[in-house]
Amino acid sequence: MSFRERIYFPAILNGMRITFGHLFRRKTTVQYPEVTRQFSDIYRGKHVLKRDDQGRERCTSCGLCAVACPAEAITMVSAERKPGEEHLYREEKYAAVYEINMLRCVFCGDCEEACPKEAIFLTTELVKSEYQRDKFIYGKDQLVEPFDPAKRIDVSKRQTPAVLEFKKDKRYKHNV
């Protein structure tokens, strides 16, 4: 150590100068209950199963989301659409049971990317905390968006031009 370093003082004074500068900086704290931090438009939170413009479920239970899921959080049971159910399901096959285990989910958004029917999307909503583990397995009652057009969940922010363009590319099988 040089003499300058051994007497400590230059370093101490420099350090004190730096900390003093911080006294008057803008505080980084977000005062939570009064102020909520803004979410990104493409935040990946709780999933939603979309309906189409006529209120029919878009999901056809193809299982691509379950295959794409790295955490194996998605399970589903398919069923065939009966005559008279055309107003409920868009195509002949639909998901009778669709479950996502929110404890396993890593919110990567791969399901959304894999979906050929634009049925599943991640939203800015958060998964609420629970006391029991089994409450984290979300069924269709929690995932499918409401029928009422006014209460539909807006995912237009997630469907950026790049995403829409990608969905049109016929070189990928799931887009056909």
């Binding site: 101490i12 350090g15 004190m16 730096i18 900390t19 003093f20 911080h22 006294l23 505080k27 704290t29």
Partner: protein, 340 residues
């Protein structure tokens, strides 16, 4: 005589109350300052600006479980924090808090006890403070606590030497051990810090070590010793230890202001022609401002510097500060001799 006793009692209780309230709010200010240094707000939920935080902390400490290790020495275990607190509160007696108050034409000094060996008294009491920590650490019957206590006592003994040596120069210049005389001599702007900058620096560093404040807070070094000497303490006994640290901070600020920064003197204040009692009050506020300044320095340093390593601490104390302090004494002696 009776009024004398009454005035002294009022003064003593006032200073006791003042030390306690200041210590209480130091904990809040410390956390606030820490927050500001780290670009945060600090506590601001309990009452406006977090002003009720110390009360909430106090209530919390009182309601915590009173835990005592089974193998602890019961008597010493309780004596430790009590002694620390007691000693921390004793020191303030010899500090002159302001010029004389005049009531019915009789002057009453704003000092609980004008001991003619004031400095010696302060240092004697400070040295007893080691016992509180040592006894507490020993009685806990825990190796972390014991190591923390050993560290604390050896650190305090080492730095007391340099501290006393830096004070000797002040005594040499003043020719008196009385705090009152020392303050009186710094009238106006002839503060001791301008004559003894080196002595002041040494005293400041030693004050950090004596109060176990960062960067010399090795006795309670969390990374190595869990909680140091108060590892086994909980509830208000722990509160006493933590509290006495802040009282010590306040008192050492007062001692430093008294010895080096002219006590309650401020240049030009005595020429304003204020009435004696107003003058006494303003002077007291001046002293208080100086103490606050030192308190801020203590916190500023704490949130800037990392902790010293133990060998660095000992090396700094014995190999740097003590020789420098002796050099300071010699230089002062020569200068005084030449001026005669």
């Amino acid at each position: 005589m009776a009024t004398q006793i009454i005035i002294k009692t009022i003064l003593a209780s006032f200073i006791l109350l003042l030390s306690l309230v200041v210590a209480m709010y130091s904990t809040l200010i410390e956390r606030k300052v820490a927050g500001w240094f780290q670009d945060r707000h600090g506590p601001n939920r309990t009452g406006p600006w977090g002003l009720l935080q110390p009360l909430a902390d106090g209530v919390k400490l009182f309601f915590k479980e009173e835990f005592m290790p089974a193998s602890a020495d019961k008597f010493l275990y309780i004596l430790g924090p009590s002694l620390t607190m007691f000693v921390a509160l004793l020191t303030s007696a010899a500090i002159p808090w302001g010029p004389d108050l005049v009531i019915n034409g009789v002057a009453y000094p704003m000092q609980v006890a004008d001991v003619n060996i004031g400095i010696l008294y302060v240092f004697a009491i400070l040295s007893i403070g080691v016992y509180g920590i040592m006894i507490g650490g020993w009685a806990s019957n825990n190796k972390y606590a014991l190591l923390g206590a050993v560290r604390a006592s050896s650190q305090m003994i080492s730095y007391e030497l340099a501290m006393s040596l830096s004070i000797i120069t002040i005594v040499m210049m003043t020719g008196s051990l009385s705090m009152r005389d020392i303050v009186a001599q710094q009238q106006g702007f002839s503060w001791n810090i301008f004559y003894q900058p080196l002595g002041f620096l040494i005293f400041l560093i030693c004050a950090f070590a004596e109060t176990n404040r960062s960067p010399f807070d090795l006795p309670e070094c969390e990374t190595e010793l869990v909680g140091g000497y108060h590892t086994e303490y909980s509830s208000m006994k722990l509160g006493f230890y933590l509290f006495s640290e802040y009282i010590n901070m306040f008192i050492s600020g007062a001692v430093m202001a008294t010895l080096f920064l002219g006590g309650y003197h401020f240049p030009g204040l005595d020429k304003l022609g204020l009435s004696p009692n107003v003058f006494a009050f303003v002077s007291f506020m001046v002293l208080f401002a100086k103490i606050t300044f030192f308190g801020f320095i203590f916190m500023w340093i704490r949130w800037t510097l990392p902790r010293f390593r133990y060998d660095q601490l000992m090396k700094l104390g014995w190999k740097s500060l003590i020789p420098l302090a002796i050099l300071n004494v010699v230089i002062t002696g020569v200068v005084i001799l030449l001026n005669q």
